[in-house]
Symmetry: C2
């Protein structure tokens, strides 16, 4: 594409959060474009945080888009979910203090959701809060963690247990970065895209069923629309409920089961999106057993998850009690009731804490294992 | 005092921060009173965090004021500023996760400012934010760190560099706890009380000059009024400027110099209030050299600081460059300008970033050393 063609395909949306509102820009060629980053920098001090997998592809391109007078430092962390620890965030804080960066600095998160969550948390707590910009380079982070201000790290006893709500100044989604994304990670991102259709937009879900082949083939217009629609659906939910008191919990469809899988396997063995894919199917199956979804609707759910290249079975070594023990720690729980996100129908999710324990245990016992 | 007399001396004020507003209750006998804590607990899970100096005196009394069905856990940390680290906060997070505490838990900070700052930060970032109650047991924490929502820990490269803004559900100030406070710590608390007079209330400053002997003798009515007026003055400032964009910086009178002293000596060698006392005198002296304060006003400042039992000289081993190097890292600085809080007159402070470098260096060179 030429530069003008590229610019013509750019789209933007606004996440409406009062004085914490911020834009998401989506398109090709954003990374090296000086007009994209400059408006969101606070002061001259810029700390780019990325990882060893992303840096060789995109770090130089990102830096070429920074103003000439910026004082730029970098932290390059190892790749993967195992890096998402307080110790890694400590490295970012050390680097900021060693550089003498003050409150008017800007952090830039260049990478997937792990980098975004850690950099957001580092920004939230450095000198009690500084600016940061998200530059998500995976489909998952583009449609999920770049919207909503959830930041944090894992603890050995639970995923995302330490963190803060902190909004970026802007999100820049350069769709070119998906060209180097491994196929497994594309699928993992599509799990979250499918989720938005399942919980809130039956029409989008039907469009995804039609276009899944184009998405898997990285067809640019299809990708751009899938990202924009996903961000818009998430932004709508977040605007309604910034700190997850109510409707925002619906975004966790499949996540209670999925987190249990990730935690039990050890973070990083299953991709987050893969675990969420299976988790959504478990939620759909439980919704069916509660009499809400028809068998056909469960089958449609399984079919689109399969079409996105995602697994349909839980890990062979996870028993009922393995699931239950992990699920009890879930942040959505109120006092001791297990709260689950379930589907009334395709396109409408609900928060439910009345599922009979026997029904849940039966589901966990009979759900397919690989 | 009888119970009814005690209750008659209780006073309350409200920190007005919209939906994050909270009450401060001040009085005798609050700690063991079941009516004081119960209204502010969220759910049944309660984690009390205190230190080895405070626990023997007040932990049992605090617990006797909790509802019978509360699930209570404790973390007892070492005493002192050296404890105020990310590692200590990590111990609180470990304890919360090991107990399986969910988002509807309540943390209670029983102790001085170090405990309050750490527990507030632990609450701010546990599962992205849970409730906490401040029960400050030192004069300093009662008049300072219990109001305003600043939480955090020290880093080897700077004080309070990692933290968050997070408001408590309530602050309970039991004036009985001052009876066991070491004299040095009473003086350190009085430094902050004097500060409120200096920056914002000339009438309160004059009252303090009259009543300093009564305060040093722990006279209950004088203490209660000094605490209430200090909290009210701080609450007014915080309500105007919750996240320290403007007027709130005035609360840092004496703190830029004071932090430099604390950091250079190694945290915990000088009490925070002692360092702030000297810092306020340095700020008053610099204000005089700028032509703002009269010599008489500087002498009044020195006299009330001395009457509170506080040192009037900086550490003998701190040179001009030792001060400057530490002061450059101060969070109030914007880009590279050094921002100081100075006094236009007694009772009125201003933010100033135009003090000539030579004047500052001359002050640092000539200010008395001990």
């Amino acid at each position: 594409m030429s530069t003008s063609e590229r610019q013509a395909t750019r789209r933007s949306l606004q996440v409406a959060l009062g004085e914490r509102s911020y834009p998401i820009h989506i398109g090709s060629g954003l990374l090296g474009d000086p007009a994209c980053l400059a408006p969101y920098l606070v002061g001259r001090q810029v700390m780019i945080v990325t990882n060893e997998a992303v840096a060789p592809h995109y770090l130089a391109r990102l830096k070429s888009g920074l103003p000439g007078d910026a004082e730029v430092r970098e932290v390059v962390l190892p790749d993967g979910e195992a890096t998402k620890t307080l110790a890694s965030v400590g490295r970012i804080w050390d680097a900021l203090l060693e550089a003498g960066f003050n409150r008017r600095c800007t952090l830039i998160a260049l990478g997937g959701g792990v980098i975004g969550d850690m950099v957001g948390f580092a920004a939230a707590c450095y000198q009690r809060g500084v600016a940061f910009i998200q530059v998500p380079t995976t489909l998952l982070s583009q449609v999920d963690s770049s919207v909503g201000g959830k930041t944090g790290v894992n603890h050995s006893l639970g995923k995302n247990m330490i963190g803060a709500f902190w909004q970026p100044r802007a999100v820049l989604i350069d769709t070119d970065t998906l060209q180097t994304l491994p196929a497994k990670e594309l699928s993992a991102g599509l799990a979250e895209v499918i989720k938005y259709g399942l919980i809130r937009d039956a029409e989008f879900l039907a469009w995804l069923e039609d276009e899944m082949t184009a998405l898997m083939a990285l067809q640019p217009e299809a990708l751009a629309w899938a990202i924009e629609r996903s961000c818009q659906l998430k932004a709508d939910v977040v605007a309604e409920d910034e700190t997850e008191q109510g409707v925002r919990a619906l975004l966790n469809l499949g996540h209670t089961f999925g987190h249990a899988i990730e935690a039990h396997q050890g973070y990083g063995r299953w991709l987050h999106g893969e675990a969420v894919g299976v988790g959504m199917l478990m939620a759909a199956e439980l919704s069916h057993r509660l009499g809400w979804l028809s068998r056909t609707e469960v089958e449609r759910t399984a079919a689109i998850i399969a079409a996105a290249g995602l697994p349909l079975a839980a890990p062979a070594d996870m028993g009922v009690e393995d699931f239950l023990a992990r699920m009890r720690l879930d942040k959505k729980n109120v006092d001791e009731r297990l709260r689950l996100i379930l589907l009334e129908t395709l396109g409408r999710a609900v928060i439910h804490d009345q599922a009979p324990r026997e029904l849940l245990e039966e589901l966990l016992a009979t759900f397919p294992r690989n």
